[in-house]
């Protein structure tokens, strides 16, 4: 069980980390980076899977199903789009 203060520590440290790792990013990468971080919060899929696994009422299952489908869409779509954007950087360097 993660409780009050421990959770607060995790929240704060993660926030500092997020702030720190992109503080020096060139404008050229703003769009791919936004897209990439968009993919990373697709991890919500895992939370939705656990919620659906524990659902035992019909309404709970419906909501859980929607949650998993949306989370999976976020992860899959976010990955494909980011990869395609970054692929173009590679092709331009080859020339």
């Amino acid at each position: 069980m993660i409780d009050g203060f421990l959770a607060l520590y995790i929240f704060l440290l993660a926030a500092f980390t997020g702030h720190e790792i992109i503080s020096r990013v060139p404008v050229i990468l703003h769009t791919p980076l936004m897209s990439g971080s968009n993919f990373v919060h697709g991890i919500v899929l895992v939370g939705a899977m656990v919620a659906l696994a524990h659902a035992d009422t019909p309404i709970g299952k419906v909501i859980g199903f929607i949650g998993v489908a949306l989370g999976a869409g976020n992860a899959a779509g976010g990955y494909v789009v980011t990869e395609r954007m970054l692929d173009m950087f590679k092709s331009s360097k080859g020339k």
Partner: protein, 470 residues
């Protein structure tokens, strides 16, 4: 120590989540540098697959069919769609996928609340508050992102405003927060339903009045929102990977939003609450007229120029003109002209959008110049070619205090000796504002599709000196 499966599996899962969280952080860090960016996304992808597989291990096969079905339903269409969508439509795809994440977080919140009602379990106040706040932010992010997507995809006309809109929106928001507070006191199904309906409405209302060049900032903000929502619901579900990944994205997204807003010289509050776009000067208030030019005359201007600056915008992306434009530029370079590409921080629909497209066409990085660097150079520029850009070159942003884009930094294209604007028609830009530049004496309009215009300029240029350069 007893290594039975019941205690082993959760520990394997927890370890996998930890590894996934580390991979996400390293992945994002790598994505912040051009050299390592491609490795970064692959790394984050491995983390995601690992975390998902680990979750199968701890869910013990409950509702397995439903879970697999939902994943298939979520993954297959978005994967195929993401693979085939045009590069120019990427910004709205990011908005849409982000909205899905927000919706997923909101669904987790809703599911947990309903479960507490059914089972009569009494969660801690911290859990309840975070479930409610996460659900609120997630729902706002979902409906807001969908509106942003519809706007960018041209499915919804620009902006929607009415008198007293901000007060109305504020009222709806306060009522929603009030319902959320009621839920923290006592969970009841009708209140839960009303809360989610209003939270979704808040996202719609917030996004409707925002238009034009502000959309990138809004998408980035909703991206950060979804991150926060995921982190809060991660606490509710007691999954550290969600807390860490969500919070990292939330903080990084907030910073990215600030960087973008700063590039546009607009505070985030200004983006959200100032009813950007539309209004301002009408064509009648601007003196002069729009002067059309033929491709042959435009080619002559280019032929006589020494220094040419290309100003691309969203129109170039729509017309897929970047390759033809680069062809034209290569011809000009063969004839000894100095060529530069001037990129406004929010040209296109997202920061970096133009850089991505020009990189795709093979334009070397050193020819691509940022706004601050190129602006002093326009005074010594012979011809500036504006292709598909509008609001980011509108001098009204400097001169007309009543204009909604007043204060936004612009490319000083108007200072160039000659300006050629390649444009499909006479309509206003995405923000719906007349462009004073088009009426200036040194500005000529080349009405054509971007690709066709660039091709005909190349042809006309060859016709002048028989193709070879000097």
């Amino acid at each position: 120590m007893n290594l039975d499966m019941a205690t082993l599996l959760p520990n394997i899962a927890k370890a996998s989540y930890l590894i996934a969280a580390v991979l996400f952080i390293l992945g994002i860090k790598r994505m912040a540098s051009p050299v390592t960016a491609r490795k970064g996304i692959v790394q984050a992808g491995i983390g995601m697959v690992l975390a998902t597989l680990a979750t199968f291990a701890i869910t013990g096969g409950h509702n397995l069919g439903l879970i697999v079905g939902a994943i298939a339903l979520g993954v297959i269409p978005t994967w195929l769609w993401g693979k085939k969508v045009a590069m120019t439509d990427m910004p709205q795809m990011v908005a849409l996928f982000n909205g899905m994440g927000g919706g997923s977080a909101a669904a987790i919140g809703a599911g947990e609340m309903i479960k507490f009602v059914h089972t009569g379990a009494v969660p801690s106040k911290t859990t309840l508050v975070l479930a409610v706040v996460g659900a609120l932010i997630g729902a706002i992010s979902m409906s807001g992102s969908v509106i942003a997507w519809a706007k960018l995809d041209g499915r919804m006309d620009k902006r929607f405003t009415f008198p007293g809109q901000q007060y109305f929106n504020l009222l709806v928001f306060i009522v929603t927060v009030g319902l959320g507070a009621m839920l923290v006191m006592k969970l009841e199904v009708p209140v839960i339903v009303a809360f989610f309906a209003l939270a979704l409405l808040v996202g719609v209302l917030m996004t409707l009045p925002i238009g034009g060049a502000d959309m990138p900032v809004v998408i980035s903000l909703y991206n950060a929102f979804t991150g926060l929502a995921v982190a809060f619901e991660g606490y509710v579900m007691q999954i550290e990977a969600l807390i860490i990944a969500g919070m990292v994205v939330g903080a990084a997204g907030m910073l990215l939003t600030q960087l973008m807003a700063k590039a546009m010289n607009r505070p985030i509050s200004g983006v959200l609450f100032s009813n950007f776009g539309g209004g301002g000067q009408s064509a009648a208030d601007i003196k002069g007229s729009m002067k059309p030019i033929e491709p042959s005359d435009a080619a002559s201007l280019l032929y006589m120029a020494d220094k040419v600056v290309i100003v691309p915008g969203y129109g170039m992306a729509v017309a897929q003109a970047q390759h033809k434009i680069w062809e034209l530029c290569k011809q000009l370079r063969e004839r000894g002209k100095e060529i530069k590409f001037a990129i406004h921080p929010v040209a296109g629909r997202m920061p970096g959008h133009m850089n991505v497209l020009l990189a795709e066409a093979g334009v070397p990085y050193d020819l691509i110049v940022d706004m601050d660097e190129i602006n002093p150079e326009f005074a010594t520029t012979d011809v500036a070619i504006v292709i598909g850009a509008n609001d980011v070159v509108n001098p009204v942003a400097k001169t007309d205090k009543s204009s909604p884009i007043y204060g936004m930094p612009i490319l000083d294209v108007a200072n160039a000796r000659q300006v050629i604007v390649i444009k499909r028609g006479k309509g206003a830009g995405f923000a719906g504002i007349e462009n004073a530049l088009f009426y200036q004496d040194n500005c000529k309009m080349l009405y054509a599709d971007g690709q066709a215009a660039a091709a005909s300029l190349s042809t006309e240029l060859k016709a002048i000196d028989g193709g070879g350069g000097h």
